[in-house]
Amino acid sequence: MVASSSFRFRLESILIYLGLGIFAFIAVTPFLHTIARSFSAEAPILRGEVYVWPVGFSFDAYERLVIGGTFWLAYRNSFIITTSATLVQMFMTILCAYPLSRTYLPGRNFFMTLIVFQMIFPPSLIPFYLTVREVGLIDSWGSLIWPYAINTFNMIVLKSYFQALPRELEESAIIDGANDFRVLIHIMLPLSVPVLLTLTLFYVVANWNLFLPAIFFINDGNKQPLQVILRDMIWSMQLATQTASADDFERLAGMEALKASSVIIAAIPMLIAYPFFQRYFIKGILLGAIKG
């Protein structure tokens, strides 16, 4: 009986791991394929011979990508934009979510209605652009930070999380003489680390992948974030192949590998960031979603 149960347990485990392994393989394969392309020669890529292992191994695409100052300038720009924007966004989100999570805030429902209204009916592009222009933010990184200072969805997640925390903790702190700032900083925030890190991750990813706002609001090529520069680089080279002369062969060879390497390089910071946030990720979202 015991042996049978043990066998069944092992069989189930094998099936579970097999199933999960297949799903993991499906999820990882496109990424492996992209890595393989980034390290492959052009001809095998175009002939469809590259799957998950490089063919004609070469670092050329990476060398080509990082030569010159523009790439690094864009990388630096994206880093600054992501860091600044995330700090502002977290600060503003916390400051908005905490008061709205307190039931005794006068006009709380009115404010929530305004927020939800804005979420359901976001401003259309042209008025939004005109507003950004009129407040003097065009061509500055501020245009990528201040108009996006609060993501409504993230704010509601955080507000729900705050509401789910035991009231007794807050009340005992108040009895001990703490005001709201102290309660927020010393009680609520330390208890909200999972959701704060999760929201930080959301903001970091969104800011790092920022593309259209930069296209709309930034005119100076030196201020563009990485995603815009990478895409422009690929498009420019792609277009050039339509009219390239023979001597452009060297310069424009390896387009496909270049595309793949740009994807990998752009993804590296996020790949580094995810493992640090991962263990808080599920917990943060679930806790924030329990109570609306």
Binding site: C96, P99, L114, R133, D232, M233, S236, L239, Q242, A246
Partner: protein
């Protein structure tokens, strides 16, 4: 005990809530008063400022180091040039916002076909005809008359120039070595074209014993394959912008002519026989040449200057590959290659303070003395030889580049930012895409003609002649008012129909009837009427 009122918890929360909201609304919603800087007069002693919007690439710093930018700044010391860069990849997203907001640069780079009508409708650009007469003589002397057609409305000129003036550079390219191997010649008729497509797919032209080659990789929406369509007396028009012809004294859209159905049926039969690459139609923008470059397709419809480039690229997998251009195949409706012209232009908005200077700046690029310094590919003195004793730029020949080996690669890497990002703006293009100006003095023209001959192979230059010989232009050069309402819907529906028809996923007879019906009910007749009124 203090008499000062206590700042309560509730008051603090109120303050925080209101403060947060105020900041949020200020940043996101509340417009401030408009700036009056644009209307102000320039203080004495200060430079004029001209902003230039272009899609020239990502590195302003590198652009500043380009020869054309240095020359420009040196020649116009009283003008401060403000560089407004737009990513080529993001242009289509940004330009509607710029047009709707009126936020255009003093010299705004734009697409004549699509953007000028919108700018006209919003009344945000000025007429440039009189300015060109006065300040743009070099531009007018160089630009051929048909190039202006898309910028003239009610007899008025609304663009400063087109950046390049060749009206067509497209032609059919073939793997000549495959044709030889299969015992076929360059196809002269549409039937022969079909045979060549099928033979490329099934005749094992690469000799590897596998069924892994194709005739052609079709572009998505079949919209860049007009060499087939012209044989039936019709064309899709690259970019799905339509193609109109005079039929018995009346302009009619090719999309609703019987020849269109015949062309689609012909392509569908080639598709059914496996003549086209199976990834056709679904490929992303800009990848139509990939199968040809990879040595797995034997035919492509592309620009003649890329013939040598394609051949070099294919030789990475097929060392004996030879690429050459062929004539447009003759069919029951004639033959031809669609000349799309070069739709990119500079326009001047009503907000520009110095429109005369704007025209003068562009015209300066077209003067023979300046053009002869910047017409060459490469960065002066690095990836080209610099200026000769006459002050004309000189390119390295392909042989000289090959002889340099690693040194050439090193030179290219040194100026990669400028090369990759095209420099600031290629107002007059570079040699090859642009031909030596007719205004060049004879010795200057010979200098560049000789350089062109050394730069491209005989096959490529033959392709240039073919692309000019078979150039066909639409008889309707400019938009009409009803297009805004109807054209996008018609474009979408037609694009779907022809893709499905070629791929054989619908019955062509039924699909054709439905398409004609759709055209009739969705503004087609009104559109045709208005086109015939202009």
């Amino acid at each position: 005990m203090s008499a000062q009122p206590k700042f309560t918890r509730r008051q603090a929360l109120k303050l925080m809530g209101v403060g947060t909201f105020s900041a949020y609304l200020a940043a996101c919603a509340a417009p401030a008063g408009s700036s009056d800087m644009a209307d102000s007069e320039m203080p004495a002693g200060e430079k004029k400022t001209i902003s230039i919007s272009h899609i020239g690439g990502g590195s302003v710093e590198a652009s500043e180091k380009s020869q054309r930018m240095m020359l420009l700044r040196a020649n116009f010391p009283d003008i401060e040039f403000e560089n407004r860069w737009v990513s080529y990849a993001g242009y289509l997203d940004k330009i509607p916002v710029q047009i709707a907001s009126g936020d255009l640069a003093d010299l705004q780079f734009c697409n004549a076909f699509n953007d000028i009508p919108l700018m006209m409708e919003n009344q945000i650009i000025i007429e440039t005809g009189p300015l060109l007469e006065q300040f743009g003589k070099n531009i007018l002397a160089v630009t051929p008359e048909p190039a202006w057609a898309s910028t003239i409305y009610d007899g008025k000129q609304y663009a400063v120039t087109h950046n390049v003036y060749d009206l067509n550079n497209m032609c059919a390219h073939y793997r000549a070595d495959w044709l030889d191997k299969l015992g076929l010649g360059l196809p002269q008729t549409i039937d022969e074209y079909g045979e060549v497509m099928r033979a490329f797919s099934h005749g094992d032209p690469d000799g590897n014993g596998q069924d892994d080659t194709y005739g052609r990789l079709l572009y998505n929406s079949v919209r860049f394959d007009d060499d087939f369509f012209h044989a039936f007396g019709v064309a899709v028009g690259h970019h799905l912008n339509g193609f109109w012809r005079d039929r018995d004294g009346r302009l009619e859209l090719d999309w609703v002519q019987p020849g269109m159905k015949d062309a689609l049926a012909w392509m569908s039969s080639v598709w059914a026989d496996g003549g086209f690459h199976p990834d056709s139609i679904s490929i992303p923008l800009g990848q139509k040449d990939n199968a040809f470059h990879a040595g797995i397709a034997g035919n492509v419809y592309s620009g003649w200057p890329s013939i040598d480039f394609a051949q070099n690229k294919i030789r990475a997998v097929a060392p004996d590959a030879v690429v050459m251009a062929g004539p447009a195949p003759e069919g029951p409706g004639g033959s031809g290659y669609t000349g799309e012209g070069w739709p990119w232009t500079f326009v001047i908005p009503i907000t520009a303070q110095w429109p005369e200077d704007c025209v003068s700046v562009i015209d300066w690029f077209f003067t023979p003395d300046v053009a002869s310094q910047i017409l060459c590919e490469g960065v002066l003195g690095v990836t080209n030889k610099g200026l000769n004793e006459n002050g004309w730029c000189v390119e390295y020949t392909p042989e000289e580049k090959a002889a340099m080996g690693d040194e050439w690669t090193q030179k290219q890497n040194e100026v990669q930012d400028i090369n990759v990002f095209w420099g600031l703006w290629l107002t007059i293009g570079t040699l090859g895409g642009t031909q030596p100006f007719p205004t060049f003095p004879p010795d200057m023209k010979k200098h560049f003609d000789d350089m062109l001959a050394a730069k491209y192979s005989e096959n490529a230059l033959a392709g240039r002649d073919i692309s000019q010989e078979y150039r066909r232009l639409t008889a309707k050069a400019r938009p009409v008012s009803s297009e805004k309402e109807f054209w996008p819907t018609l474009q979408t529906r037609f694009g779907e129909f022809i893709s499905q028809a070629v791929a054989g996923t619908i019955d062509i007879d039924q699909g054709w009837s439905e398409w004609l019906d759709f055209f009739e009910k969705n503004g087609g007749p009104l559109l045709t009427e208005q086109v015939n009124e202009i």
